[in-house]
Amino acid sequence: MANNSINIAATAVSGPSGPKPRPLLSPRNIMIYSTLFIVCMYYALPLYVMIVTSLKGMPEIRLGNIFAPPVEITFQPWVKAWAEACTGLDCSGLSKGFWNSVKILIPSAALSILIASINGYALANWKFKGSEVFFTILIFGAFVPYQVIIYPIVIILRELGLFGKLPGLVLVHVIFGMPILTLLFRNYFTSLPEELFKAARVDGAGFWGIYFRIMVPMSLPIFVVALILQVTGIWNDFLFGVIYTKPENYPMTVQLNNIVNSVQGVKEYNVNMAATMLTGIVPLIIYFASGKLFVRGIAAGAVKG
């Protein structure tokens, strides 16, 4: 017995022993990482071009190529885009659009999340006759092209006296955000243990008591996900902004498009890119700050109810 084990040990020394070597520079790894590097370059390039262009003066842009880093960094284009760029006759820059967007964003996001979370909670825990039918209509509604619905909504808003005003646009955002957010909250509340809800009922809490005291405190992550989803979605909206508001209330995206694509005057590419950056910066900050939660938010749209 003892002899045998010694023999085995002896042969093991000459054969493979210990951890299997995994060279970092295997052909497979080189291929994977170089592909990923090129892919990342491709995706990052437009952001890079935006930034370098916005930091150059016009003469430098006319001479050099768009990928070259700025020789002489200037923040003039940013200042101009923010405060002086013209849409038609109005030369007050993007700042107005920025503040309009903020004024649209805050009530729209807050209201749509509040309403959708209560809807989702009712659908998950307090099913009543027909609740699933309405929900199904709502989800299918998410697939109806906006173009089919936009004009009747113009009429409804006009009747309500909200057409062209910020509250009207807020209402539109609440309506169009409802399907996806309701789905998000419904699925989340359904995934919470049902016994928790039962326990709260035995403890005498009612519809609102359970919502505010039990469900909301437990669901902060999903509220953050919904917030990310809504903030980026509403900020990036163009169509509703252009239809349901008047020029003095135009959100930033609409104003940006008007500045850059205006036909009058000499094209100032550096100012255009600075304006584009300024508009993109809010969702980008949210994106980079939120990390995994953003992914979770957009993946929620992919989860079927």
């Binding site: 190529n65 498009n257 508009t279 990390g291």
Partner: protein, 298 residues
């Protein structure tokens, strides 16, 4: 006695019903009511204001004999097929690459996905700039000595829609990649162990085992891409504004312009009804497969 009160049917669960009122109203008034309203008015000769003077299929006949609409449909077809094929293929390949237990996975994913956080307007404008023949890619390649290099999709009516497609893919593939990646991660890890023991090459495992298992993910991605394609509007407005000429028009823009620019509401309603129809063509078979099939399974 508190317990002996007979509950009234309508009042039972009253709080939930009140709380669901916004949803019920939205579902019925907006998604059902407004859709029907538009469809009905597409059979009228409404111009500046909607009115109920029915003219049968006149608007549709006019629509299908308008060159701009035909161009829009053609563009949508190119853009749609291109988006579907490239998004699915690139999205899956990127997801498969990221699934190789690589380092910096989060960084790479962050870089590939960030365009999705941007507005279509921003995307359109950046790519308008990059594809600018005077300063952009064409200019640079010529600078390398290829004096006759031509790459000006936004100024060439024949290929302008592919210029839009490039921008659209840049923005959207990250999203599809994320969906594919979650699909890949959802596959039982023991499948990979089994295929390693059986000595099946990785690409074969992907092709014959993993992709068939990911059918639901592909279907989801397909539906999401399709829903996005039909809505494409902002991107075109920002990048080309339909130009040069009408070479990059899309249906959504046709609808908007008919309704809010050329005071031709009837045309807008007919065009939007056609859009709804094309969505239904995609949606109904999908819903039938997903939900109809599920019922049989149970």
């Amino acid at each position: 006695m508190a317990g002996a009160k007979k509950p009234v049917r309508i009042l039972r669960n009253l709080n939930a019903k009140v709380a669901a009122l916004p949803m019920i109203t939205t579902a019925l008034v907006i998604f059902v009511g407004c859709t029907i309203w538009t469809i009905v008015h597409s059979f009228t000769n409404s111009r500046l204001l909607p009115k109920l003077e029915f003219v049968g299929f006149d608007q549709y006949e006019r629509l299908w004999s308008t060159r701009r609409w035909l161009v829009s449909i053609e563009n949508l077809a190119y853009f749609g097929i291109g988006s579907l094929v490239f998004s699915l293929v690139i999205g899956f390949l990127l997801a498969a690459l990221l699934d190789q237990k690589i380092r910096f996975e989060n960084t790479v994913r962050t870089i590939i996905l960030y365009p999705f956080a941007l507005s279509f307007i921003v995307t359109g404008l950046v790519w308008q700039w990059i594809l600018n023949p005077e300063f952009g890619i064409q200019h640079i390649v010529r600078g390398f000595g290829f004096e006759n290099f031509v790459f000006d999709p936004l100024y060439n009516p024949d290929i302008v829609i592919f210029g839009v497609l490039i921008a659209g893919l840049w923005q959207g593939t990250g999203f599809i990649m994320v969906i594919m990646l979650s699909g890949l991660r959802g596959i039982d890890g023991e499948i990979w162990k089994a295929s390693r023991i059986d000595g099946i090459p990785k690409w074969k495992t992907y092709l014959f085992v993993v992709i068939p298992m990911m059918r639901p993910t592909f279907v989801t991605a397909l539906v999401l891409i399709s829903a996005g394609i039909i809505k494409v509007y902002d991107l075109v407005v920002a990048q080309t504004n339909g130009g040069p000429g009408i070479a990059s028009e899309v249906p959504a823009k046709y609808v908007y312009d008919s309704m809010f620019r050329s005071q031709n509401l009837g045309q807008g309603f007919a065009a939007s009804t056609m859009m709804l129809l094309s969505v239904l063509v995609v949606l109904i078979p999908w819903a039938y497969l997903e939900f109809g099939g599920r019922k049989d399974g149970k």
